[in-house]
Amino acid sequence: MTFNDLVAKLTEKFPSKINSYEKFGSKYIVVDRSVAKDLLRSMKYDFGFTYLVDIVAVHWPKRKEKFDVVYNLFSINDKLRVFVKCSIENEKTFTVTDIWKSASFLEREQYDLVGVVFEGHPDLRRILLPEFFEGHPLRKEYPLKGRKWFNNADEQGLGLKFTR
C-alpha cells in the first residue's frame, strides 16, 4: 500500500478530519484531536502499522494549540513510515498504551520532559528525572542555565536535603 492509498482510505473513514502532506522526505497525516485515537487504532489493526517507533511532543507556547504530539509509525509489510500529528490545546491528551505497549516508556518520557499528560496511562511517572524535580525542561519557558534547588525534595520524605 502506498501513502496515497492509505490517505484515501483514511479520508473515507474519517471524512474532513485529516490532512496529509509530504515534506523533506517524510509523510505526515495531520488529524483532528476528536478522532485521533480511533485513527491510530485503525492504523494498527486495519493497515498493519504494528511498530510504533516514537512519540514526540513539541511545545509551541505562542500558538493556540500549545502542543503537537507526533506518532512515528512504521508498517513492516509495506515498508512505509508515516507520522501522525495531533495538536492539543492544553497539556492533556489520550494514551495509546492500550494499542502499543511500547508507548508506555515513550509517553512517560514525554510527560517527564515536555509535561504532556497522557490520560489513562497506567503508570505515568517521571522516568529520566528524579521524582522531586520541578518543571518540565523541554518546555520553551524552562531556562537552559540557572541551577534549581529542589525545595520540595525533603517534603516528599525522600530523606534528601539540598543545601547551598
Binding site: 515534506k23 517524510s26 517507533v53 516514537d54 507526533v70 512515528n72 513510515r81 511500547s102 517521571r126 524552562y142
Partner: protein, 397 residues
C-alpha cells in the same frame, strides 16, 4: 497468633534492588526486582542517573555544534550516531553527498557496528561466566579503534561525520589497515564461535532464557538484533535504505527461537555481514571530494581557507553563526548496532533546532525487559540485561 500456612509463607514476594552500581548492568541501570523465591515476577527499571539533557542542549546549539554531543549517546559506536544526526539535518537541504564520503560513511558505520558487537560479545560472555572470549574480542576491537584513530584522530568520541560529508579524507594508511582487518576478521569470528556457540555452559545459560515472542517484540517496539532475534525480518539498511546501502549485498540475520541465544547468533552473523559490506565498500570506493559543494551547508576545506578570501569568510560565518534550516520537521534513522536510532528535528527557520528528539534504541528495548524476564530466575536477569545490549549513555541522554 494465627499460624501462617506453608503456602502463604512460600509465595511471599520480596522486592530486591539491583544496581545502579552492579557490574552486569553496563553503566548505571537500577532495577527493582520483585521475587517469588528465586523467580522473577516483576522488574521495574529506574533510569536517569546519566541524564545530561542532550535534547535541551540541542535547542541552544547550532546544527554543527551538536555533532560532538551525539558521540556521547551510544559511546560504543559514536560514528553511527554522527551519521544518523547528519542524515536528519541533510534531509532539510536535500543535498547530494559526494560518492567517496558516502562510502566512507558506510565503512565507518560498519566498523562501528563490529566494534560495538565485539564489546557486546565480550562483556555479555563475561557476565555469564565465559572470560576467554573477552580477551579475544577486545584484541580485534583494538584494531578497529586504531583505525578510527588513524582516520579521525580519536579512538572513541570521534565526531568525524559532518553535515554534507566527512570532515576530511582518510590517510592511505587507513585503507592498508582496513584491508588487513577485513582479511582476518572472518577467521576471528570463527574463534569466538568456537569458544561459545557449542559451549555447554553457554548453551545452558542462554537457550530458552529471556524469551520475547514475535508479537511482543513488535508490540514493545524493540529494534535491532533484539527484534531480529525474535523472528522479525526487518533491517533498516535493507527495508528503508539510507545513504548508499542499496548498493551492497548482505543478508539480514534473523533467528526464530526468541531467546538470548538467538540474539547472540544474530549479532555474530551481523559481524560477518558487516565484514562483507566492508569488503564490497573497499572494492568500490572511488576517489574524489568528501564534502559537498552545496554552499548552504558546506564547510570550506582548510586548503581553500588559506588561499581564498571567500572560503575564509564562508568558513568563519558557518562556524560562528551556523546555517539556517528551512521550517519544518525532518526525521532520519539508521540501523545502529543497538537498533533503530532516529533523530526527529523540528526547525523554525533558525540556526538552531527548535526541538530535537532522539529515538534511542536502548531506551525502547529496555521497556521490554519485564516481558523478557518474567518467570525466569534472578540469575538469568544478568544474561537478559546483557542480551538486549543497552548503553546507558543512550538511554538517559
Amino acid at each position: 497468633m494465627s499460624a501462617i500456612s506453608e503456602k502463604d509463607n512460600l509465595s511471599e514476594i520480596i522486592t530486591v534492588n539491583m544496581g545502579p552500581q552492579h557490574p552486569s548492568t553496563h553503566g548505571v541501570l537500577r532495577l527493582v526486582v520483585d521475587l517469588d523465591g528465586e523467580t522473577i515476577v516483576g522488574v521495574r527499571p529506574d533510569i536517569g542517573y546519566l541524564h545530561r539533557g542532550v535534547e535541551k542542549l540541542a535547542e541552544h546549539r547550532t546544527y554543527h555544534q551538536f555533532i560532538p554531543l551525539t558521540d556521547r549517546l551510544d559511546y560504543l559506536s559514536p560514528l553511527s550516531n554522527n551519521l544518523a544526526y547528519c542524515l536528519a539535518v541533510e534531509k532539510f537541504f536535500n543535498v547530494k553527498i559526494p560518492e567517496r564520503a558516502e562510502y566512507l560513511r558506510v565503512i565507518f558505520a560498519e566498523l562501528a557496528r563490529i566494534a560495538s558487537h565485539l564489546v557486546w560479545v565480550a562483556t555479555h560472555a563475561l557476565d555469564i561466566g565465559a572470560m576467554t572470549v573477552f580477551l579475544y574480542a577486545f584484541r580485534e576491537r583494538e584494531l578497529i579503534l586504531d583505525m578510527f584513530e588513524i582516520a579521525t584522530g580519536q579512538r572513541m568520541t570521534s565526531s568525524w561525520i559532518r553535515v554534507g560529508g566527512i570532515r576530511e579524507d582518510v590517510p592511505p594508511l587507513f585503507f592498508e589497515k582496513l584491508r588487513e582487518f577485513v582479511s582476518i576478521f572472518e577467521e576471528r569470528v570463527d574463534t569466538y564461535e568456537r569458544l561459545l556457540t557449542k559451549n555447554r555452559i553457554w548453551l545452558k545459560r542462554t537457550v530458552g532464557v529471556g524469551k520475547l515472542t514475535k508479537e511482543d517484540a513488535l508490540d514493545y517496539g524493540v529494534s535491532g538484533p533484539t527484534m531480529r532475534g525474535s523472528g522479525v525480518d526487518f533491517d533498516l539498511r535493507r527495508d528503508e535504505p539510507y545513504g548508499i546501502y542499496d548498493r551492497f549485498k548482505f543478508e539480514v540475520a534473523v533467528q526464530d527461537s526468541c531467546d538470548i541465544y538467538a540474539r547472540y547468533l544474530v549479532r555474530v552473523k551481523e559481524m560477518r555481514e558487516a565484514n562483507k559490506i566492508l569488503q564490497q565498500a573497499l572494492e568500490q570506493i572511488p576517489e574524489g571530494p568528501v564534502m559537498t559543494d552545496d554552499p548552504r551547508i558546506q564547510i570550506p576545506s582548510h586548503e581553500d581557507v588559506y588561499e581564498k578570501m571567500e572560503a575564509l569568510i564562508r568558513r568563519f560565518y558557518i562556524i560562528t553563526k551556523g546555517f539556517t534550516a528551512p521550517k519544518g520537521e525532518a526525521y532520519a534513522c539508521v540501523e545502529a548496532p543497538k537498533g533503530e536510532l532516529g533523530f526527529y528535528i523540528v526547525s523554525d527557520g533558525d540556526t538552531k533546532p527548535y526541538r530535537l528528539k532522539i529515538r534511542a534504541p536502548s531506551f525502547v528495548n529496555l521497556g521490554a525487559i519485564e516481558a523478557m524476564a518474567k518467570g525466569y530466575m534472578i540469575a538469568d536477569l544478568v544474561g537478559i540485561i546483557g542480551s538486549i545490549d543497552i548503553v546507558l549513555g543512550e538511554i538517559d541522554r
